[in-house]
Symmetry: C2
Subunit: 336 residues, 2 copies
């Protein structure tokens, strides 16, 4: 089933069920007023929501047209957002651009940081812009939402705790990252609020495209209306999303409604090379930083600028019939 | 007024008001069912809660005896927990123990990380113990809870967004920190859930002891029933709590119910030296790591072990009459 959170003037919005083709929705707040409340008691709520979802599909439930701009991120504020780096090609490019090696441990011990998750941007919210020097960038990611995950969960058991899948635009302030990481405590100011896709889906909606804890489809990232990235979310993933959940839970239980991110989806080129822009027949990139690094590796200089007011990013994922699965994240950078 | 969250089998507990002497409480859930819901509409809720608090003090409200072990942390799950390092003496000791300098920027740019805040440990919960090699340690801290804080708030304006003050035991896994920080993304597995004090108070409860965004009183930290630390929370603070709130909000608004921590309270000795244990007439330490660093600086070897099952830590703060202000955090390390 597909779930979303209708804007209603409250902090947490109202839970709705969206049809598989994203054309209509039905109110689910009689079952659970908010997505968080559904996740708090998922084992009992999920079957009831599924029944309503089936009634929506068959036309037996009251429905209204679904408007992607009328929803919050599925969790407008979440108790936890931890973001991994499953696609180590991204890390390799960062390091290569500055002439550094990737430590061997990075291939079996995920990088992960805890980020801000309240308030999250709505899927079609602007990205508030303050200062060009902050280096505004997008990052196209896959994310999952868990129920309660016990401390020390294995990767195999973690898979069963992935209840919902969604997309993320992890907004990043590249201009602030070097100094902040240099301080040694990780990201804080360099990671402002993310936007998530209008709809979060149960894994069964992906059918065979959900396999081994990875989504076997391409992210569709457009920048200023042009194709920018078409990376495959299952390719070059060093870690599955289940492995990232297990990593996050090694020393602490995860509370229901925890969102775990994949990190920037990033593919190597066909020969293990950094890959080409979409305009040159490649799969492109999920963030501007990567094309800047590739430019730097190739010519010694980054040319593509980071985002400034007026720039737009659109992130979605299409099924085999070209139908949008999660709806689209659409953010325009706007001066505050 | 003093607020707490009664355990009631739900994830968020029930909001209660506690008397100034911590002897009795009255149910406040008619005004706001939970502390989070009160913070979500603080401007309207606070006056109503204050009226009830005054009725509790005067005996005009129904009351029950207050039991510190019957409460959750004030926010059993919070949308955000960011922890600063206001007491740079702690950082100086860490660096000195490994022969490194403290970068000059650390004196005007706070260190801060985002940590896990759901579920938080209850004030008298055990600390779940898994592995001696993880290096279990406590950290005695001051923390504040904000209402909604706008992006880019100044330090002066941030002060007014501090609605509640409480104490924190920031449990830390010292054995995991070096490798995790070495990866460059900051703390994640090395910071399991914290415990907070039974009671959170409005700043006016501290009278003249709340000044310039700092609490002008000593933390009382006992380890295994003996005085371990009596550090002064206003002394050697490089940054005020308002400054830490402002730092956290530089690139993002803070959602109501954000908890901001001071970092380990840490004082220098009278001559700027690292300070002495309480047993030798000093103010002692807020964490085991500090005494281990001082041992290492003095003799080349750390002697005091980190915590193991059966070890207990108690953290509280006393007013001028020796009365506990926030109640006490009391955690015993217990194998899971």
């Amino acid at each position: 089933m597909k779930l979303a959170t209708l804007k209603n003037g409250s902090r947490d919005g109202a839970l709705i069920i969206v049809s598989k083709d994203l054309s209509k929705y039905t109110d689910a707040s009689d079952i659970a007023p908010t997505l968080q409340s559904a996740l708090d008691a998922w084992a009992t709520m999920a079957p009831r929501l599924k029944t309503l979802s089936e009634a929506l599909e068959s036309g037996d439930a009251p429905s209204m047209p679904f408007d992607q701009s009328a929803v919050e991120s599925p969790l407008p504020r979440a108790y936890q957002w931890v973001d991994g780096s499953a696609y180590i090609n991204h890390v390799e490019l960062v390091r290569k651009a500055r002439g550094a090696e990737v430590p061997a441990s990075f291939y079996d011990d995920p990088l992960m940081y805890q980020g801000v998750s309240g308030p999250n941007l709505a899927p079609h919210d602007p990205i508030p812009f303050t200062d060009m020097a902050w280096g505004y960038d997008m990052e196209g990611e896959i994310a999952v939402i868990t129920d309660d995950v016990p401390l020390g969960v294995s990767e195999a058991d973690a898979l069963g705790h992935i209840k919902l899948i969604l997309l993320c635009n992890d907004v990043s302030l590249r201009g602030l990252i070097p100094a902040e990481l240099g301080k040694g405590f990780g990201f804080l100011q360099s990671k402002p609020p993310c936007a998530f896709s209008p709809v979060a889906i149960t894994p069964d909606e992906l059918g065979a495209h959900w396999k081994d804890g990875l989504v076997h489809l391409a992210l569709q990232i457009d920048y200023n209306g042009k194709p920018f990235g078409r990376p495959l979310a299952h390719k070059d993933a060093t870690f599955s999303l289940a492995r990232l959940v297990s990593h996050a839970a090694k020393t602490r239980p995860l509370t229901a409604g925890t969102i775990v991110g994949s990190g920037t989806v990033s593919n190597k080129g066909p020969d293990g090379d950094p890959g080409k822009p979409v305009s040159e027949g490649g799969l492109g990139y999920s963030c501007i930083a990567e094309i800047r690094m590739i430019e730097k590796i190739a010519t010694g200089e980054s040319v593509t600028p980071f985002m400034s007011p007026g720039d737009t990013v659109k992130i979605e994922m299409l099924d085999d019939n070209g139908q949008s699965i999660f709806g689209s994240i659409e953010n325009e950078v706007k001066a505050v």
